[in-house]
Amino acid sequence: MGDPLVWHRLQFAFTIIYHYLFPQLTMGLALLIVVLKARALRSGDEAYNDAARFWIRIFGINFAVGVVTGIPMEFQFGTNWSAFSRYAGGVIGQTLGMEGLFAFFLESTCLGLLVWGEKRLGPKRHFAAALALFLGSWLSGYFITATNGFMQHPVGYTHALDGTLQLASFWAFLLNPWSVAQYAHTMVASVVTASFVMAAVGAYYTLKGLHGTQARIFLNLGVTAGLISSVLVAFPTGDVQGKLVAKHQPVALAAMEGRFESGPRAEINLFGQPNVKERRLDNPVRVPGVLSLLAYGTFSGNVRGLNEFPQDQWPTHIELLYYAFHIMAGLGTLFIGLMGLAMLLRWKGLIHRTRWMLWALMLAFPFPYIATTCGWMTAELGRQPWLIYGLMRTAAGASPTVHAGSTLFTLIGFTGLYFVLGLLFLFLIGREIAHGPVSGAGEVAHG
């Protein structure tokens, strides 16, 4: 308890998981809003503008919470992880600096125009504002993913004389293959979240018999985008990401699967509990060969087990990593099934009358949030015990002058503040959904 490291890690984990509940919706929603605005512009159908206006209001509340919970993330590099910042700032300062200058200014300007400027801008320029907001938020996503990509798989750096890392090749750093793959996977996942939320609201209105036209638009777009993104998040983006883990972080892959023994025709574990002390998986339900195939594209691929690695290289929380990965992968598979069925019903024109499917869609929206959170936990727990893979251990990155009393103080502060923030957020979102989309060419904001 006296070791501040555990509190530093807990605080960063808590604040980043909480923060990412909001951008994962807004980034995906930005794309769906562009689609709605584009259809309004092309068809001239005012219903699409009403739909866009409703989702811009939801976007606005989420964006506000995303912005304020994002500020501590930027600060914590310096406050809690100063040894890491000192060591790697010469490299990751590039992407963090670019995010401010290229993405945040664009986002804050365009959101203002989108929310307050529909009348002043006219339809075409209002569409342009939506497009620019989408661009800004997806750009911001890239810069931060590239920062994480460097921590997962450092490239483009050199060691300076004083031992710190410095930039050697900007393009190698920026176009790190790990960052590109992780970005694609992350962004598609954010579309999954947004689609599920849109479909859930559509299903809710349909079941209640409210806002007929809007409910239909939400359901149709939510299900279509939901199916496309659910497939893409697994294949090719998740697949590529998995192969990178197998290649560059084999010990993380072994821990994700609770695999202790090495060998070809490695099985995938659908179920089971990792028993790290006894070095085995309890109660396993297995499909032989699949893990070799997924990791190396052939059944004969040798997937190394944890026994092959020295214990000080093992991820520090193997059990949590194992469950995080399995929950993500399991939910991802279910998403394809649910959205595939919903799409079938949509094609047959039955979805608006199939009550069990509407119930399922309405209740499904929390699961992409869970899957995304588990996905990031897989990435970050799999990176352990390294802060920068192979270069700096997590224990070496914390601020040397900040003691456990200070860290726990701020962690307690965040817990209280974020609890209140969460209540307020749910209250406001609940009001918006109860209020519903209203027709008319009014401004987006209402009292």
Binding site: I71, T79, G89, L106, S108, G112, T401
Partner: protein, 348 residues
């Protein structure tokens, strides 16, 4: 190259103070300059389109500091740990108050968020001013390049130093009054009616207080860190920016006398910008001064990133900075004219 980046970071910090400063100032005066719901909506409507973008200057400046001088960021942020989180929490509460207030038409809901917004807007300038005071006074940096500071010790400026002492509290007070005066001029320019009249009245007395506190803060700085003023004769940029600050101050008073509100507001922006830039010119090349031993100072030479990173950063900075400036020009153009309280059901 390190010196160029020192100036880029300084300019961005100064821009942050000038830009977010006017909405901090408006917020600090919020409860007194606007009494009715209609008047308060006028204040919020005036800063509404800008405050979020203004705050981005903080993140952009922080990002540039991270890129160019990671050792300064690492030492400073971890050394001021608890004070940093006071800043973070105040920024969170202030942002939430601004965004959430308009969503519910209820007098208690709005009174609550008005109070939160105003309290956070008062606390933030004090904290930022105290932070600048700490940089000027120095912090107990040791051979490892780190330090740890208590919130307060004995309120004296000698070792052991604390974040708050008589000097840094004075700096915080000066920052609060200066930004309140700056915000009053923004409201005088951007609003009409009772809010405008009260803002003008407040600006008149606040700017006299600014001059008095400026003299006091300058004298205090000379006693706490005499090296700054000893360096001034050899720093032409220091002279130049001091003149900018003085010219800004003169513009404020003539603008206030003649009713040229925009001129007065621009003058106060020039005053703040000049003051901060002159300070930067005089402290360079020291970025973070050690109270223990000058050998432990973090300087341009020993804190800068590698030259390849600095050159690369400069390339994209030269693209990104004009873009950011363009967005702001666009924002001010679209929202030109006086801000009125939006009709109930619309806007703030």
């Amino acid at each position: 190259m390190a010196e160029l980046w020192f100036w880029l970071v300084s300019v961005m910090v100064a821009l942050y103070v000038v830009m977010d400063g006017f909405d901090f100032g408006a917020g600090a005066l919020h409860l007194v300059v606007a009494r009715t719901n209609e008047e308060r909506r006028t204040v919020l409507g005036a800063i509404g389109p800008y405050w979020d973008g203004n705050e981005v200057w903080l993140l952009a400046a922080g990002g540039s500091l991270f890129l160019a001088f990671p050792k300064v960021l690492a030492a400073g942020f971890s050394g001021f740990y608890l004070a940093m989180f006071l800043v973070v929490w105040s920024l969170i509460l202030r942002g939430i108050a601004l965004e959430f207030r308009s969503h519910v038409q209820d007098t208690l809901w709005r009174a609550f968020w008005d109070a939160v917004f105003s309290a956070a807007s008062i606390l933030l300038p004090v904290l930022l001013g105290a932070a600048l005071g700490n940089v000027l006074r120095g912090v107990p940096l040791d051979a490892s390049g780190t330090f740890e500071l208590a919130f307060f010790t004995d309120f004296r400026t000698g070792n052991p130093v604390g974040i708050l002492d008589w000097f840094t509290v004075l700096a915080g007070l000066f920052a609060l009054v200066a930004l309140a005066a700056h915000g009053a001029l923004f409201l005088a320019w951007k609003t009409d009616g009772p809010v405008h009249d009260r803002a003008v009245r407040m600006a008149r007395s606040l700017w006299i207080a600014v001059v008095l506190l400026w003299i006091a803060a300058t004298a205090a700085t000379a006693s706490v860190n005499p090296a700054i003023f000893a360096a001034l004769p050899g720093r032409p940029l220091g002279w130049l920016f001091s003149l900018v600050a003085l010219a800004g101050l003169a513009t404020v008073f003539t603008g206030l006398a003649k009713g040229h509100w925009l001129a007065a507001f621009l003058g106060s922006g020039a005053f703040l910008l000049g003051l901060l830039a002159a300070t930067a010119a005089c402290v360079a090349p020291v970025m973070l001064r050690s109270t223990l031993d000058p050998a432990y100072d973090l300087t341009l030479a020993n804190a800068a990133s590698g030259s390849h990173g600095l050159r690369t950063g400069l390339v994209w900075w030269c693209v990104g900075f004009p873009l950011a400036a363009l967005y702001f020009a666009m924002l001010f153009r679209i929202h030109r004219g006086k801000a009125a309280a939006a009709a109930e059901g619309e806007g703030y």
